[in-house]
């Protein structure tokens, strides 16, 4: 049979090519971002920038670096992730074991979904109102707490989605052996969910370290490395933001360097999450 072009097949080809084109467009423009960041950041980065805190006249282009922001960001994100993780474990166990299939669990899930979608600037504003009510000033502690809140829904919902898919027969066999809820959740749920714990933690860490709007209100910005929880603290996203908005070329260059450092941290965390979850999944009974 001779192949004949008709309208239907032409349409098929047209749409297929259009799809391929838009797929390329999206992936390409996303790659373009990474390439731009590397292209601009790589020449600007040097040892001085990542090992020194800003010196006098830094914002006019004099010596110094962004160590304050790097250390500050790591403090903030680690603290926030730690707090969020400690709170998220009981919530996840509660949602899947103790309050399984109750109205309370679905209400809590809805609340967490809403929290996940809430813009980070609203968290910032909320943190600010709390700080005013308590008479606190912007500090590392406030930043950590607000980041913890921001990361909590990410952690809980990521773990929860995974654990919910787990066959409940596993729990039932633990119950059949006489395990209490707590023993079953510890021996079955936590063990089975180890890989997703790692993924969720790193996901939340990535979100926390990249967030600027909430930290802007609560952690402030400073040129020094904080010595106590009550000191204000700098962070990388804000370092990018502030330095790019300066009129001096030399300062903007450091903004690009900060952007590169931030991107590298995010990419590393994301890769680590993949590798770690693969490594930990050998404890899982499939």
């Amino acid at each position: 049979m001779k192949f004949k072009w008709n309208r239907r097949l032409l349409w098929e080809q047209l749409m297929k090519n259009l799809m391929l084109l838009s797929f390329m467009l999206i992936v390409g423009s996303l790659f373009a971002i990474l390439i731009t960041v590397i292209q601009k950041g790589a020449p600007a980065i040097n040892i001085e920038i990542i090992t020194q805190i800003p010196q006098g006249g830094y914002y006019l282009g004099e010596g110094g670096g962004i160590l304050n922001a790097i250390v500050g960001s790591i403090y903030l994100a680690c603290g926030g992730t730690l707090i969020a993780f400690l709170v998220s474990i009981p919530i996840v166990l509660g949602l899947n074991v103790y309050a399984r299939k109750t109205a309370l669990a679905s209400a809590a899930r809805l609340a967490l979904d809403v929290m996940w979608g809430t813009p980070s600037i609203v968290y910032g504003a909320f943190g600010f109102t709390c700080m005013m009510a308590l008479g606190l000033r912007s500090s590392l502690l406030a930043g950590i707490l607000i980041l913890g809140l921001l990361e909590l829904p990410i952690l809980v919902r990521t773990m929860d989605e995974y654990i919910r898919m787990m066959p409940f027969e596993m729990m039932e066999s633990a119950f059949a052996l006489g395990a209490t809820n707590w023993e079953a959740s510890w021996a079955v749920v936590v063990r089975q969910a180890l890989p997703v714990f790692a993924t969720a933690i790193l996901l939340a860490f990535g979100r926390g370290i990249g967030d600027a709007a909430s930290v802007l209100f609560t952690a402030g910005y400073t040129d020094r490395i904080p010595e106590s929880l009550m000191d204000p603290v700098a962070s990388l996203p804000l370092a990018v933001f502030f330095q790019l908005s300066m009129p001096y070329q030399a300062v903007q260059q450091r903004g690009y360097a900060a952007a590169l450092v931030l991107t590298v941290i995010i990419l590393t965390t994301s890769l680590a999450a993949r590798l770690l979850s693969r490594g930990l999944s050998r404890h899982v009974i499939k």
Binding site: K16, M19, L30, L104, V114, P119, T180, P237, I266
Partner: protein, 343 residues
């Protein structure tokens, strides 16, 4: 418990006996057991932990209520000073004169958000269809982590990219060309020649939400049973016809939910938009006018808000409006999405 070597176990028992002498209430049940090894019996430990854990489960619900309540409390003066309509639809924003009308900011947010969706949705849908219906397995396994990765890039990086690439492009290429091409249409006319404009904001946001739309819609397509497609193909439909007549209609609620999620993400985005959109208090009338979204308003002015009366109430009111709108869109999309993916 059996893993403890005997010596350690004895130690634990000893300590727990001492402690249990101090506290009484919970242990009545435990005392009846002949071989009690730990502080609490297994069941009462479970009950105690269960109660604690229930407290934690309630925590997010309470937290959300507290967030709304705190913002409401702070914003209350602005609601009681004028009517809600004055606040939401007022055109004047002069904090020093005591005029707080959010309309320029709300319209700014909507312009940027809708612009972003207009740009992002068609190619994202096509790309998602491609990934789910046409792409090779290798492409899929390579794209999935890439999308996750890109969804995790901080907004400030997108903003920096916007300042570096998008703003100059709009200034030097898009704006002059479109302005001369459509010289009669007010949508493309402006007096703002900087490139910091609604269009730049929309483009940056479009790229930011693209990974979200693609991965959600892709997931929705994959949740569709393969039999539906097979039935259509067996009737002699081409693949595109199958997509157009079967896959797309069937997954419409899911697609809408994905767009809704992207919408709320774009709506609440702060840093990326703030850096490229120009931040001029006005109601934008063209793609190339500068805008001033709600989020940028809050982020730019929190520093001075305590020095002008009512300013803080107005800003917290803005945050509240933002939160409630996003909440609305989000819960609608989450509701639909849960129904589809069977969550």
């Amino acid at each position: 418990m059996s893993v403890n070597p005997p010596r350690i176990r004895n130690l634990i028992m000893k300590r727990s006996n001492e402690q249990s002498a101090a506290s009484v209430g919970v242990q009545q049940k435990g005392n009846r057991e002949p071989h009690r090894r730990t502080l609490l019996s297994r069941t009462s430990k479970d009950q105690l932990l269960g109660r604690t854990i229930m407290g934690y489960v309630v925590f997010p619900i309470i937290l959300l209520l507290v967030m709304v309540a705190m913002l409401l409390l702070r914003a209350f003066p602005i609601f009681s000073a004028g009517t809600l309509v004055d606040f939401l639809l007022g055109k004047d924003w002069h904090p020093l004169k005591g005029n707080f009308g959010l309309l320029p900011f709300i319209t700014g947010t909507f312009w940027v958000t809708f612009g972003a969706l207009l740009v992002a949705v068609p190619p994202c849908l096509l790309a998602a269809i491609y990934l789910s219906e046409y792409a090779l397995r290798t492409t899929r396994t390579f794209v999935k982590p890439l999308l996750d990765l890109l969804a995790g890039i901080p907004s400030v990086i997108y903003g920096a990219w916007g300042v570096l690439v998008v703003v100059p492009w709009v200034q030097n290429v898009a704006s002059p060309i479109l302005r001369s091409l459509f010289s009669d249409i007010p949508l493309f006319q402006t007096t703002n020649y900087t490139g910091f404009s609604v269009m730049s904001g929309a483009l940056v946001l479009a790229i930011m939400v693209a990974p979200i739309i693609v991965s959600v819609v892709w997931e929705v397509f994959q949740a569709l049973p393969a039999e539906l497609r097979q039935a259509s193909l067996a009737l002699g439909a081409t693949q595109w016809e199958t997509i157009w007549y079967v896959v797309l209609p069937k997954s419409r609620p899911g697609i809408l939910a994905g767009i809704g999620l992207a919408f709320s993400r774009a709506f609440g985005e702060t840093m990326a938009v703030l850096m490229v959109v120009g931040n001029v208090v006005q109601i934008p009338h063209s793609l190339f006018d500068a805008a001033y979204p709600l989020t940028a308003l809050i982020a730019n002015n929190y520093g001075e808000m305590m020095s002008i009366p009512m300013y803080d109430a107005a800003l917290m009111g803005a945050a509240l409006v933002l939160m409630l709108l996003v909440m609305l869109f989000n819960s609608l999309s989450a509701f639909y999405l849960n129904r589809i993916t069977g969550g």
